[in-house]
């Protein structure tokens, strides 16, 4: 049994990190973040945002062109990958087809100068933890995608490295398997106390797995923080629409007399006049689908015509037009609504976000006051 804290914990610091391939244009710039020891940290963003490159810079597979990288308080820019005391799990697993599962797991372990017995012991423990004990003598081509993924994970674990880097490890698995592995990876990380830096383009993975996450777009940090904090207080329209499924509804509005007026001249009132809008008249309003409710008689914000209905069993998604965009509402339960029906909806102004029309940055929002906890049940 591997005990918690058996792995020495280390933190990773990025100070003004930037990356450029041709000394002219930067693919990544001004990255400043400290990843705490034992933290599950997720780098998330759309394809091409630079998250993989950043991970590879931490690994030492790519050169850091600007800034300082510190691993465990030691400057690591010039260190070889093998000197950084980390392990890595690749998207396509990078298993050696000609070696058995056991040999794959133990690959390279001999460089850590531990005895053969210790190597075998670690292999057994890792295999047990990941349910691979029966497959040790098999070759990768005899395993399923999910099993191969576990072998890659086992290979990382046996190194007992304090930092583990994962580059989109689940993207080649089907949705069900992904959900299962997400939970398993998280549990293993908690159990072993490894600092895990995890790259993904899937915001669901980020939200469910991260202690904290960093959202990247085009090489720039959009926001860093805990998942719920980001969800409830996105700093700009990019984060607002990237995190959350279905994404936050956004529309251009103009402010007239304390009203937010949409392009089709419908309007909703703002809760209180705001001073930090800098006199802006053109803003972007945002509201999450779950905050668009069926109106009760005296509380209607708008009447909308339903364009599309999707019933998912636990909830119903309605699509309708709002201003210049199509918005979605998410209601709990299975609602019978026909396309074309006119439905009254209510949006509580306190759920409105206001973003700058030019920069996209958040101008105003009201912090969430929800605080749901379970009081100890009476036995």
């Amino acid at each position: 049994m591997i005990e918690k804290g058996a792995f020495l914990m280390k933190k990773v610091e990025l100070v003004n990190i930037g990356k450029s391939y041709d000394q002219k244009t930067n693919v990544i710039q001004d990255i400043n973040v400290t990843i705490e020891p034992g933290e599950f940290f997720v780098l998330v963003g759309p394809s091409g945002c630079g998250k993989s490159t950043m991970l590879r810079m931490i690994a030492g597979l790519e050169e850091v062109t600007q800034g300082e990288l510190l691993i465990g308080d030691v400057k690591a820019n010039k260190l070889l990958p093998s000197q950084r005391d980390l392990s890595m799990v690749f998207q396509n697993y990078a298993l050696y087809p000609h070696l058995t599962v056991e040999q794959n797991i133990l690959f390279g372990l001999h460089t850590k100068k531990i005895s053969k017995q210790e190597q075998q012991k670690r292999c057994r423990e890792a295999a047990e933890m990941l349910g691979l004990s029966e497959y040790l003598k098999r070759k990768p081509r005899q395993l399923s995608g999910g099993q191969r993924q576990r072998v890659a994970l086992a290979r990382a674990i046996v190194t007992h490295s304090p930092i583990c880097l994962m580059d989109e490890p689940l993207s080649n698995l089907d949705a069900k398997l992904r959900a299962k592995m997400r939970s398993e990876i998280r549990q293993i990380q908690r159990k072993l106390g490894i600092t895990m830096i995890y790259v993904t383009h899937d915001q669901t993975e980020a939200m469910t797995m991260a202690d904290r996450m960093m959202i990247l777009n085009e090489g720039n940090i959009q926001q860093v923080g805990r998942p719920l904090d980001i969800y409830n207080a996105p700093k700009n329209t990019f984060v607002a629409s990237f995190i959350g499924s279905p994404p936050m509804n956004l529309s251009n509005v103009s402010i007239e007399n304390n009203l937010l007026v949409f392009e089709d001249r419908r309007a909703i009132s703002m809760s209180t006049p705001h001073s930090n809008l800098n006199g802006k008249k053109e803003v972007v309003v945002g509201v999450r689908p779950e905050h668009i409710q069926l109106a009760t008689n005296d509380n209607t914000s708008f009447i909308v015509e339903v364009d599309n209905v999707e019933i998912l069993g636990t909830e119903t998604l309605l699509t309708f037009h709002m201003g210049d965009k199509q918005w979605m509402a998410k209601w709990n339960g299975q609602w019978t609504i026909k396309v074309g029906e006119r439905v009254p909806i209510f949006i509580d102004p306190k759920h409105l976000f206001l973003f700058d029309g030019d920069t996209g940055s958040c101008l105003h929002y009201e912090p969430s006051t929800e605080d749901l906890t379970v009081k100890g049940a009476l036995v």
Binding site: A59, G60, L61, L80, P81, S82, Q83, L86, S87, M88, F90, N92, A94, Y96, P97, H98, F107, G108, L109, H110, T111, R141, R155, T159
Partner: protein, 311 residues
Amino acid sequence: MSAVTKTANSPVSVSANSKEKKSMPTIIVGLAYLLPSLLLFSVFLFYPMIKTLYLSLFITDTQGNPLNFVGLQNFLYLFTDPNFLQSMKATFLFVLYTVPIGLVIALFLALIANEKLKGIGFFRTMFSSTMGMSVAASSVIWMFMYNPTIGVINKVLNLVGIHDVQWLLDPKYALVAVSISTIWMNIGFTFLILLGGLQNIDEKLYENARIAGVSYWYQLLKITLPMLSPTLFFIITVSFINAFQTFGQIDILTKGGPTDSTNVIVYSIYKDAFVNYNVGSASAQATILFFCILLVTALQFKLGERKVHYQ
């Protein structure tokens, strides 16, 4: 197919049969496209192969016409003929000298040319350049270099105190000399194939090794060579077969001599058929060549398949 009438009231629509072309059965069309190839193969490959096998069982006249049926006598004679045995020895030695060494050198070149360095494209082109050299041209150049008096090779050896070597005239060295020039000629092709094989290896396998911290040699032995095995297998097979079929450089450099030390099998066939007009014997040797190659290929497939690691 005729169009079906809809109802009794509507006019009967006549089938379009009269307009439809009767399409030829596909087998005829298929064979038509294959005809040129099949014809040429039949005339210039299958027929001659069979004829060779046939002629090997006869004693022939100088025109190549079979005279007396002698069964396997030609073969039996060959197996006791010192000339033929010498020829086989020369051929096997030649294969032994050229295939392994050529492979190792080309592999070395492929490994260093596979690195991501600036200007590596130039070096890759340079290393493949021997592929653009014909056997005749290469042989003439090497002939000049092997020249005992003014050849550059002996000049260099003289510098380190070695006397002029009669590269092409000394039975001890002639086969080695031809082998060296053959290795040189084949490097371009072997290099290109091996380079292609190296580039097909997943980069991430090496990245993982770098993170683990294994040495360059460990990576070479445990990752590169195993992953390269399909390519190695292919190249060894092709090199073997090519080596058996060597002719051009022998014709220019040594003409089979001195004292038959470089009289490899194809040259021997050529001499017997076109210089000595002994078509029966030549055909028997050609038959032996055919079976040798068949055996080598079959062996390599059997052995190779087991060891090759496919992904």
